[in-house]
Amino acid sequence: MENLGIDFKLLVAQIINFGLFYLIYKKYISKPFIELVKEEEINEKNKVKIVDQVKKQEEELIKKNDEFRESMLIKEQEITDDIKNKTKLIKRQIIQNAEIEAEKIRSKAKKEIEAEKIELYKEIKQNVIKTSIVVINKVLEDVVDEDLKKKYTNSVLKNLSKNSKNYEN
């Protein structure tokens, strides 16, 4: 061994040194380091988990947001359709009411025109009669002279039984 250049004592001492170093390393350096690494690993895993969770939550939120937007769009469409339908209905009702009202006014106006026409016709007739009476009166005043009066009286007397009218009280 000595020929090979290996000092047994030194080797033992080195082994002991190594053993001591190993023990010290294992006890005071390696364990905390490994624990630190493990802790870091756990932390990293937790971080990844949290990130995943956040991502999931974000996705869920986006999904919910999309759903909400979609539902809002549907609701908006429904409300718009409803308003449109109601507006159409109201419009139709207004038109119907207006048509009924117009028909009433038209009918009333027709009746009024008819009544006015009749009244006017009556008035014209009466005016014609009045004028005729005035004319006849005038003619009678001017034309019926004593001779004509005599002739008329003679005629009346001749046709007395035919024309006579009796008024008895």
């Binding site: 007739k125 009466q126 006849i136 009678l140 009066k149 005599k150 009286t153 009346v156 007397l157 001749k158």
Partner: protein, 94 residues
């Protein structure tokens, strides 16, 4: 209102007497004075007037013709009445 029956009878009697008295009075209204010829024509048509008290009245308003009044009876043959009748008919039409 009730009228006493006796009073009622008395009133009726008086009224009838008045009417009978007036029956003998005949009023003939004309627009012109009637000639003798016309009076004869009238008496020819109504012989019962001969013994009655006839009063001739001139009424220019009747235009032409005659009106005979005997008691409550009136025979209207005037032109005015004819004209009024036409007027009335015309108004009735409208």
């Amino acid at each position: 209102m009730k009228i006493d029956p006796e009073l009622k009878i008395e009133l009726k009697k008086t009224l009838m007497n008045e009417i009978n008295k007036k029956r003998d009075d005949i009023i003939i209204e004309s627009s012109i004075p009637l000639s003798n010829e016309q009076i004869s024509m009238l008496l020819e048509k109504y012989p019962k007037f001969k013994n009655k008290n006839i009063k001739f009245v001139l009424n220019r308003k009747i235009i032409a013709g005659i009106i005979i009044k005997q008691g409550s009876t009136i025979i209207d043959l005037s032109l005015l009445t004819q004209f009024n009748q036409i007027k009335k008919n015309l108004y009735e039409i409208t």
